[in-house]
């Protein structure tokens, strides 16, 4: 044996059955971390692909201010190409279209199947200037010919819609439906990445013919010379190009996707941190038990001349070895979790995510963190081992923990955590606050265990006759060991309660927001913009009561030197508030409607207004088709997700584009079924006007489905944490049985039957779980309130916390289930102890 560290390895191997439980906990924590890192990597790559798909090699992207069917002013392309710092440019004309695959009646004479229609972005490009920025990789067929009625589609689009080279399809355009041939299929890289693969390319002349204007273009990609910074170039040349164009660095596009990905990654990150915390806690617990069990060994080493540092190293090396092995196993499990997580996030974001790959860097980081966390968690027990008195070598049994504890530092930790959670600090600080709250609560548990066990023991001791009191008594007298096990269960239950309460509160608030924000019975949207006259046709459909047109576009919000491109919605205040409304944060319907009708007034999402430090009644600056204009903030509203963005009025329509509506909000007559009216609209108008009709119920279901998807990630992590908690409790119970082997022998020799001994273990488990449950309720509520306070940035609306009465019983049942399952093996072992060997046990 070369050094005392050999003891670490031998100890690990000798107790491998018991350490298996602990290793499982660390494995789960590392699995969660690695799974999250991989998932975050994939979503970040998806974001990068999205940005790259649209921007390609471009450094700056230019588009028109105002509604989406606006075009860039004539001559902008020439002026941009001549600006200093420009290496090359390319112009495009994008049309949001509907690809209708089923053109002709089927062979059996039935009408074409319109269910296969899909919204597609048809991009008209000048291939020689476009291809260097957005490479095309043909995988089938050929490239389109300039001016021809043909296009290429992406491989993913072709797969989804069962398209093939040579097939004829119909594309909805501003000038009507146009038949196009599929000339070729391109790979899902470069140009094929745009719009998550939902894009088709044709020549610029062809697109202009579809648009009805020979000089129209609504997009420019600009490649700058080396060394030119996009933001600086934009600021420098803004004045030269005027205010009718929106310019932004290519890296900043897909802002909504970016924000949502950041929020999802932050949430996943927090959950993985908590999973690691629970795993680390299990390590701490296990090594605390192990050190207590091996007091005599450590005392012997000290008596033989080992200095405290050497004894500490034995424990630390043991923890490091355990952590390393568990972390490696966690990588394997984490990869599986990542696969599931990516699938879930993909359905949440409604995008095709890139393949997982195997990020070696993330694996190394996860293993390192898992090992370091194990060592850190075992540090305090290691110090206790090092502090073992050599006199302990002489003593029989375990050394009693006679250290005095002070309550106030622990209370300070809890208080600081609470302050962080409820502050307006960034997410990182509030996440730290959540960890501090958990830590503070855990540290306070030893002071609470005895009185609560004494109070609740009379309930649980009835689970077994005669000896139940003994189990409760041990808990009342025991401080450290059972207390920290209880704390682990408490943390798990509190997290379940917190996530559940957040989910309930957010579902409730979402319903309110949806009801107020949407309000209408259905939305009728066009892929591009509606033809004039559709409004009259819609109004004539049986069951339709009122409609209000809505126009979508974009604008720049100017805040000092900063310009932020943002989504724009133009509403008709005269009709909008008769069909729908907003979830007001500042302002009300009457004053907002009046201000909007008067013009030069806007509504802002409350999160945007807060970010800008703007309140109702103040003025903001927007870029319009006629230059920079000042608008009064007539109110702020709680926005659902990306929502409607800045709301402008048709009184200012001339500032924001051509004027054709992109959607109508529709209310149905009293007594009319929305689904029936929806079908009537599709039948009457859908035949000649591509449209998408969604009822309020469909929109609500969609929103709830997204929320459900978001929380399902959290619940998946909680299942992991729950499993870890169960392992911790099982670990402690096994140790308890071991420590009390002689006592059990004595009980058996005094007449206790095996079932009573098993019941004693169950009573201990149930009492611990019940005390944990009682403490989890206030802790979980606190965490929920903090979690909810931070959701505004993620979801765009303010969620109000209410105490989750509905969850109390389910969480209590979960606590009892954890106790029952965790006590199965230890109880069985206790029941099988032979009396004679137990009485001789040392």
């Amino acid at each position: 044996m070369r050094s005392l560290s050999t003891l670490a390895y031998r100890g690990l191997v000798a107790r491998r059955a018991r350490y298996l439980l602990t290793a499982a906990g660390t494995m789960l924590g590392v699995a969660a971390l690695f799974g999250v890192l991989v998932t975050a990597g994939v979503t970040s790559r998806a974001l990068s692909d999205t940005v790259h798909g649209w921007a390609g090699r471009a450094d700056v992207v230019i588009g028109p201010i105002g509604s989406y069917d606006s075009v860039l002013p004539v001559g902008v392309d020439t002026r941009v190409a001549r600006l200093p710092g420009v290496e090359r440019t390319t112009s495009t004309l994008g049309i949001r279209s509907l690809l209708q695959r089923g053109l002709a009646p089927k062979a059996d004479g039935m009408p074409p199947d319109l269910s296969q229609d899909q919204i597609v972005f048809l991009q008209g490009v000048d291939l020689p200037s476009y291809a260097p920025l957005h490479p095309f990789t043909l995988v089938d067929g050929r490239q389109f010919h300039p001016g021809g009625r043909e296009m290429v589609v992406t491989r993913s689009l072709a797969g989804r819609m069962h398209l093939r080279v040579g097939q004829m399809v119909a594309m909805a355009t501003p000038t009507g439906a146009v038949q196009m041939a599929i000339a070729g299929v391109i790979g899902d890289t470069g140009a094929g990445q745009a719009d998550n693969g939902g894009v088709a390319y044709t020549s610029l002349p062809t697109a202009r013919a579809m648009y009805g204007r020979a000089d129209a273009y609504n997009g420019m990609d600009v490649v700058l010379t080396k060394g030119t910074t996009p933001r600086a170039w934009i600021d420098q040349h803004r004045a030269a190009l005027g205010d009718r164009v929106a310019m932004q660095p290519a890296s900043q596009i897909a802002g909504g996707f970016r924000t949502f990905v950041a929020a999802v990654n932050a949430a996943l990150g927090l959950i993985s941190v908590i999973a690691l915390f629970v795993g680390a806690f299990l390590i701490f617990l296990t090594f605390s038990l192990a050190v207590a069990e091996r007091t005599r060994l450590y005392g012997t080493l000290r008596a033989l001349g080992a200095v405290p540092r050497q004894v500490r190293r034995v424990v630390v090396v043991e923890a490091a070895q355990l952590g390393l092995v568990s972390s490696l196993a966690g990588i394997v499990l984490g990869y599986g979790l990542a696969a599931a997580g990516v699938g879930l996030v993909g359905s949440l974001l409604r995008v095709n995510l890139p393949p997982l790959g195997f990020p070696a860097g993330a694996a190394v980081v996860s293993v390192l963190i898992g090992t370091v966390v194990s060592v850190t968690a075992a540090w305090v027990p290691a110090r206790r081992a090092a502090a073992a008195s050599p006199v302990a070598a002489m003593r029989e049994g375990q050394a009693a923990d006679e250290r005095r504890r002070r309550i106030w530092p622990r209370a300070v930790v809890l208080t600081v955590g609470m302050a962080c959670i409820f502050s307006r600090a960034p997410t990182g600080v509030r996440s730290l606050g959540a960890i501090l709250v958990l830590l503070g609560a855990v540290l306070l548990v030893p002071f609470l265990l005895s009185p609560l066990a004494r109070m609740l023991g009379p309930l649980t001791r009835r689970l077994t006759r005669g000896v139940g009191d003994i189990a409760v008594m041990h808990l009342v007298k025991e401080r450290s060991r059972s207390a920290y096990t209880l704390a682990l269960i408490m943390v798990v239950l509190a997290m379940i309660l917190a996530v559940g309460a957040s989910n309930l509160a957010m579902n409730h608030t979402l319903d309110q927001v949806l009801t107020r924000q949407a309000g209408s019975d259905m939305q009728v949207a066009a892929p591009g913009a509606f033809d004039p006259g559709v409004a009259d046709q819609l109004a004539a459909v049986k069951g339709v009561d009122r409609l209000s047109p809505v126009r979508f576009g974009q604008t720049d919000v100017l805040d000092g030197a900063r310009s932020t491109n943002t989504f724009l919605t133009v509403i008709d205040p005269a009709s909008y508030f008769r069909v729908a409304n907003f979830d007001w944060v500042q302002g009300d319907t009457a004053s907002a409607g009046s201000a909007l009708s008067a013009g030069h007034a806007v509504l802002l999402p409350d999160a945007t207004a807060s970010g800008m430090g703007v309140r109702r009644g103040q003025r903001i600056t927007l870029r319009t088709n006629l230059g920079v204009e000042r608008f009064t903030v007539a109110g702020t509203y709680a926005q659902l997700g990306n929502g409607f963005g800045v709301i402008a009025s048709t009184a200012d329509l001339s500032l924001f584009g051509s004027g054709r509506p992109n959607a109508f909000l529709v209310s149905v007559k009293a007594g009319a079924a929305p689904d029936t009216v929806r079908k009537a609209i599709i039948d009457r108008i859908g035949a000649h006007q591509p449209l998408l009709v969604q009822t309020a119920a469909m929109l609500r279901a969609q929103a709830h489905s997204q929320l459900r998807g978001f929380f399902s990630l959290a619940y998946a992590m909680l299942v992991l944490a729950g499993a870890t908690g169960m392992l911790g409790l099982a670990n402690t119970l096994v140790f308890s049985v071991l420590l009390r082997t002689r006592e059990i022998g004595m009980l058996r020799s005094s007449g206790a039957v095996r079932s009573q001994i098993r019941g004693m273990v169950l009573v201990e488990a149930a009492t611990l779980a019940l005390v944990a449950f009682v403490l989890a309720i206030p802790l979980g509520s606190l965490l929920a309130a903090g979690l909810i306070a931070g959701q505004r940035a993620t979801f765009g609306f303010t969620v109000h916390f209410t105490f989750p009465w509905r969850l109390v019983i389910p969480v209590g049942l979960i606590a009892l289930m954890i106790a029952a399952v965790a006590s199965l093996l230890p109880a069985r072992r206790a029941g099988r102890i032979e009396v004679v060997s137990a009485l001789r046990f040392d």
Partner: protein
């Protein structure tokens, strides 16, 4: 006699005016009330006393495992109690060997590894201590069990391994705390014979704590710890004489120890006042 920090140069370990108190809640219990002790080099001293008399406490202090509240322990003439914890620890590595009632072997190490553990703690290379290890293993009679783990050994064999570990460092003094307390009669007798052999063949100084008069009779001197103070010694004069003669006289020695203990009890009952820090009665000598 006042506690002077001097000792006879022939002493391996000595104690002067040792006081040790334990606080249990509000109650302060004075376990040692000023104990003096001189243990000559190469001698085998048994310390007896009833449960709770402070025997183990005395052993803790002599071994530098704990510090007295007053008084001093001298090891080869050097004060021990005033050293720092680290210095006392380092001293234990090479100067003090301890044998425990419950053996305290490391369950995951073999016999060889358990015996050589002090050397590993001291960072010595195996080739440097291999020879010494072989010698000790032979001495304690475990040559056929070197690779076995403690759970593969009998109680007696485990205690032999523990003695081997204590002897491995060639300690100035070997301290034994009820070494036969967990063994059957025959195994216990073997262990005590091993102590005698270590004393005779290696010149090992031994202080053994025991409550058993028969075990105590293996030593040269018997001391009695009662009420925090020391009585004795009872000198048995058995030093390394003819082993057969020692064996035959063991019964006589055991009876002598018993008689002496009874005398001490009678003295206590007569409430003869004692001056703390002195030996209660002069040495009683038993010639065998």
């Amino acid at each position: 006699m006042s506690a002077e920090l001097t000792m006879d140069g022939a002493c391996a370990v000595a104690a002067r005016g040792l006081v040790k108190e334990y606080r249990r809640g509000e109650v302060v219990e004075r376990v040692l009330a000023g104990v003096d002790l001189d243990v000559r080099r190469g001698s085998f001293v048994s310390v007896m006393g009833p449960s709770g008399s402070g025997k183990s406490t005395l052993l803790h202090l002599l071994g530098g495992l704990d510090r007295p509240d007053a008084g001093e322990v001298l090891l080869d003439g050097s004060p021990l109690s005033s050293l720092s914890d680290e210095d006392r620890t380092l001293l234990r590595r090479g100067r003090i060997g301890i044998v425990y009632q419950f053996f305290n072997l490391v369950p995951v190490l073999s016999v060889d590894e358990n015996i050589a553990l002090p050397a590993v703690i001291a960072g010595r290379r195996e080739r440097a201590y291999r020879g010494k290890l072989d010698e000790i293993v032979e001495l304690v009679g475990l040559a056929d069990h070197r690779t076995k783990r403690p759970d593969e050994l009998s109680g007696g064999q485990q205690q032999r391994a523990a003695i081997g570990r204590a002897l491995f460092v060639e300690p100035a003094v070997l301290l034994a705390d009820e070494p036969t307390g967990n063994l059957d009669f025959r195994s216990g007798a073997d262990i005590l014979a091993l102590f005698v052999e270590a004393q005779c063949s290696l010149g090992q100084t031994i202080v053994m704590v025991t409550h058993d008069p028969r075990s105590a009779a293996h030593g040269e001197e018997v001391l009695l710890l009662r009420g925090g103070s020391m009585a004795g010694p009872l000198v048995l004069n058995t030093r390394c004489r003819d082993a057969a003669r020692i064996d035959r006289s063991h019964e006589a020695r055991s009876r002598a120890v018993l008689r002496w203990l009874e005398q001490q009890e009678q003295l206590d009952d007569a409430a003869v006042p004692r001056d703390p820090g002195t030996r209660v009665q002069g040495p009683a000598t038993l010639k065998v």
